[in-house]
């Protein structure tokens, strides 16, 4: 059988396929044939956006609930307060009123003593301060106060300044991190456990080709992922991309490169899935909290800001947000781009020589 002929037999032919392309295809096929992985990569960010979008949706004005102490004349005061839109007043005995205030079902308790009103509330609760101002205003106007200056209110509810606008770029960054770490980390360790890495190591396959195949496969999925999340955000929540789509895509690709490198570094030595999972949690948890995915990083003390700014997820989310919400130009994000590129190159540079093939 000439097919199996070793040595310099004429049946030897050049290969028709590039190893990097074949490995990337293998990654791609294995992923698409794993319905769970497809679900978590593509639909999880959308589920999260829906859930958070509902929880933090911009409702109309929040109604204000106040309690009136059961005293002579309390009922007529309650009727008077109820005339103000959004203000709801109940008459309660003193102990129930105190309980309602503690439990937060009313924001303010109003009493009357020696001809003056008393307001009981916790000034650290914003809704209590609002209740006090609204109630006082209603009472003063009813007593005949007139406003010396005329004012008009102009209400703004434009896309770009809502919580969901802040959230969508955060979620995209968050998803880049998770798919980079989990997609790569688990696959590599599984291959190591099943001796497949050792088997590959016994062939002339170039080591960087193996690691690069993970990057290339990620780029395929990234395009699908971004298209899905961005069009969902636009159609359902009317979240616009103000900057250029090219800048946005460039940042996403750079983020994917950076987090895939991090995933390869984390998985470079682990022999067990439990071990790699612990390392991935260790790497990603601080970033989920600190990097401004769900709320602004400005809430953390000034002392921590340089550390926070050096995290790759912070750089990724900040830059995506700047391009998406503020329409920033790519060049204005040079600092963030530098942070992402540096993390990616350093992680890959360390992962390659220390990578355990056995």
């Amino acid at each position: 059988m000439p097919v199996l002929a070793p040595a310099r037999s004429p049946s030897r032919r050049r290969r028709d396929y590039h190893p990097l392309w074949q490995l990337t295809l293998a990654r791609f096929r294995e992923f698409l044939r794993e319905p769970d992985a497809v679900f978590w990569t593509f639909f999880f960010p959308i589920l999260l956006a829906v859930a958070l979008g509902l929880a933090f949706r911009n409702r109309g004005e929040d109604p204000v609930y106040v309690a009136l102490l059961r005293q002579p004349g309390a009922d007529s005061i309650a009727r008077l307060l109820e005339r103000t839109p959004g203000l709801h007043a109940r008459v309660l005995p003193a102990d129930s009123a105190a309980l309602a205030l503690r439990r937060g079902s009313v924001a303010l308790v109003i009493g009357r003593q020696d001809g003056r009103y008393t307001f009981r509330y916790d000034p650290s609760r914003p809704e209590s301060r609002i209740a006090r101002l609204v109630s006082e205003d209603a009472l003063q106007r009813a007593a005949g106060r007139t406003d010396p200056v005329a004012t008009t209110a102009e209400q703004v509810r434009e896309p770009g300044s809502r919580y969901i606008d802040f959230l969508i770029p955060g979620l995209i960054g968050f998803n880049l991190l998770s798919t980079g770490l989990w997609g790569v980390g688990f696959t590599v360790v599984q291959m190591r456990k099943e001796q497949l890495l050792k088997r590959l190591f016994s062939t002339p396959l170039r080591r960087p080709h193996f690691l690069l195949s993970f990057m290339f496969a990620r780029l395929f999925f990234l395009a699908a992922e971004l298209a899905l999340v961005l069009s969902f955000a636009y159609l359902v929540f009317h979240v616009p991309v103000r900057g250029s789509l090219f800048a946005f895509a460039f940042l996403a690709v750079l983020g994917a490169f950076c987090f895939t490198s991090l995933g390869l570094l984390i998985a470079s030595r682990s022999r067990t899935l439990e071990g790699v999972q612990g390392l991935m949690n260790l790497a990603s948890l601080p970033m989920w909290v600190l990097s401004g995915v769900f709320f602004s990083t400005e809430r953390f003390p000034a002392l921590m800001q340089p550390l926070i700014a050096a995290l790759p997820l912070t750089a990724c989310v900040d830059a995506l947000r700047a391009v998406m919400i503020d329409g920033a130009a790519l060049l204005s994000q040079a600092g963030e781009i530098g942070v992402l590129a540096a993390w990616g190159v350093v992680c890959l540079g360390i992962a390659l020589p220390i990578f355990r093939w056995r």
């Binding site: 037999s9 030897r12 032919r13 290969r15 190893p19 295809l25 096929r29 001796q195």
Partner: protein, 253 residues
Amino acid sequence: MIPVVSARSLIKRYGELTAVAGVDLEVHAGECFGLLGPNGAGKTTTVEMLEGLLPPDQGSVALFGLPWHHHAQELRERIGVQLQETHLPAKLKVVEVIRLFRSFYRNGPTPEEIMAAVQLDEKRDTWVSRLSGGQKQRLSVACALAGSPDLLFLDEPTTGLDPQSRRALWDLVTTFQRAGGTVLLTTHYMEEAARLCDRVGIMDHGRVIALGTPAELTASLAASPAHAGHFVDREPTLEDVFVALTGRQLRED
């Protein structure tokens, strides 16, 4: 003539345990060499050092006269390796796995030729996870043949296979050898070694304790004074040689 495999004083330790305690080995072109031994004798460790997967603590390995540390890339183009427990990607089709491995080598047959050679052409679009044990093993050997190797390593290629699958694999090895290839295999089955191997080495406790053709080994057993009178009614088999050399106690894995 330069031996295809040449190992000098190989030593490999794992902490306290000396897995391989000084092995010298030569395998010649066109030969099928079998490495036999009980579990834990150091066969797999030895083979992995020969395959360039494991650096020896001491000693040296050269294939085709080329030492591993200077010619790794070139040697990997010229050998085919089948490992004991590799799980090929479960969700890839047979043709995809073969094409993948074929792409790693500069030269070799086409994926179609490889599939035909291991009789998997009818299974070309079947996922690896849906193959039988024998088919998986043939696929594993097919991947090892993807670069038209001059030297083929097979580590317990027929363990756990039914008789038909085992014979199909033997045929593959014989075909490869007839075409001029060199084979180094490990096995637990004496029948397999007697049938396939031109020479065998028996390993125990990290050393090669007997080396020769199956006929030489059985003849020396029959002639040894310790076994005089054992083999009056029948010829000794390789299994008798193995048990006589390595004893009857059970070995831990």
